[in-house]
Symmetry: C2
Amino acid sequence: MTGIKDVAERAGLSVATVSRALSGKGNVSPTSRERARAAAAELGFVLSYHASSLASGRTHNVGLVVPSVHRWFFSAVIEGASAALLEAGYDLTLYNIGENPAHRQSVFSDFLLRKRVDAVIAVSLELSEDEIEQLHAVHRPIVGIGGPLPGASTIRIDDSGIALKATNHLLGLGHTKIAHITGHEAYDQDFHLPGTRRSGFEKAMNDAGCPVRPEWIVSADFTIEGAYAAARQLLASAPERPTAVFAASDEMAIGTILAARDFGLRIPDDLSVMGIDGHDLGNVLGLTTIDQDAKGQGALAVRTLLGAINNGLVLEPADTEHPTKLVVRTSTAVPKPGTS
Amino acid sequence: MTGIKDVAERAGLSVATVSRALSGKGNVSPTSRERARAAAAELGFVLSYHASSLASGRTHNVGLVVPSVHRWFFSAVIEGASAALLEAGYDLTLYNIGENPAHRQSVFSDFLLRKRVDAVIAVSLELSEDEIEQLHAVHRPIVGIGGPLPGASTIRIDDSGIALKATNHLLGLGHTKIAHITGHEAYDQDFHLPGTRRSGFEKAMNDAGCPVRPEWIVSADFTIEGAYAAARQLLASAPERPTAVFAASDEMAIGTILAARDFGLRIPDDLSVMGIDGHDLGNVLGLTTIDQDAKGQGALAVRTLLGAINNGLVLEPADTEHPTKLVVRTSTAVPKPGTS
DNA sequence: CTCACAACTGCAAGCGCTTCCACACACTAC
DNA sequence: GTAGTGTGTGGAAGCGCTTGCAGTTGTGAG
């Protein structure tokens, strides 16, 4: 393999100068810089990643920890982060925790701590303060997306406000019999999202003087499949059907739409459905939703981290609220006369 | 930071012995091994990734290149590969090429070649022979999934045979008026999949003596959205409607189902639909499909690569055919009397 | 009892870069 | 003139490990 030494030789410069020329740091005369570049290009030389990481302590690599790669939100965050990192010349090391708790443990202790990454993005992942402490101890900035991360910076949306806004959209159309599909409690422990959205829903209902009917609040696991099952139950068992469903995620809204189809319910005539996310399928299904720009959140996380790395400053724990946008499509409408 | 030196000191051993004890390579007495382990544990010591990579030339890191993270097949491959790698103590560096051709270029030249990875998995990605040559030159085994990769090992399914099988399922039910949703030609250049599946479809039709009607072959981009649009066109414009649709992927089959809904067509009564993949949503939608176990393909790629790395042997270019399975659900049925 | 050989251990030489430091040189300022 | 500043350069010391080599000890065979 050609090393920086070969380049130096060919360019008639010292290794030190070539290193500076190629990295852009330090003072190098334009002539030398050009010569170094030319020599490197001619030899097809590429810096050894590990050698420069070892010497400089910078890895040019960001770790992204996600609970799953299948759910839309996570894919979108990955996509946004990936593009931003590629642009900046950074690698993205993906840690897909999955269901296996042992994986979570090993990701943390064996991987993140091995100085492999300059920074960590944790998506909907609860790290203990202890773990964050450890990460801080090795000077690795962290940002969390989609959930509180004690002691770390986070990017999040106003979950409660968003749910309020969504519910108000339904109420504004004239619905009063509104059901809510929330996340399982288990998820709540980790990132509190279901509870927060649910409370926004309840607040809107209360403010409007509409009763919140416990049998119309069902929970699922945030997947289409899970919500499909939950919605079937909701639509089948209720003595009286709601005229609208507000799902805590687009995937769960989609599951609801599919379930409604099984009951011969037309959307929005018989049932209005809305979600939260901005899922790609929303367009096809005409899903009314609140777009939370997950891709943008991923990109923002990267920018935040890169900024911190480059300025060498410790990332102050800060909460950045990402903007959201109500997108009205055809899955919500005024309830049929006589049903509300 | 605590280094291996600290561990050695604490354990009363030399750095060399600790290194051997921790890595499991070379001969170390059980006593020393235990002492090294204990000292490492007490100090919370973790090997520096870059230092050991630099010294050993092994990165314990595999690069996975995908065209997108949103499409089901790619997510599934990522999931399978990720779990297998985590299990083996390897990192996964994800390169999401996306639409941007510049990204593709930089991923290849700047990233893959920087000795960051021990091996490369390329999913549905066409590398030129030249590029593969370069990768081989740095002794990086490659395996391709879902498309031919000249000079590299590949894992693939029998695309033509699978399409034949799928079409025969439809024919066996009594359908003769069968449409096909294929991939765009542009995809064909890269990994030939649409063309191969299409030819399997045509062969089955010809063998059965059924005419292949050009207006019943439409193409889309493998996404739900894309196929939705294509299927709408198919179902709207044809002077006569097909009784069954065979889509080249589950996502396109799902798009078709959604489109059919818009026309008031019931499935499978008015229209049978089947796909290829084994998409998670298949269950909910009752989609008949041919399961190609994408997760398994990802895991297999990892096992193949790890085997090659550990045995130090060059990976012989070989074509592994992954098994597939017809899964009959409720989206396909005997055509309505009088329609076939 | 000697020798061959295996098992174990430590020394030290790298792995391929980055960066501190010293030095040379060209300026401007007094 | 000297001192002070800034720029450009190379030497060389690491970064924190792995591993070849050589040395020590223990074992069974001859």
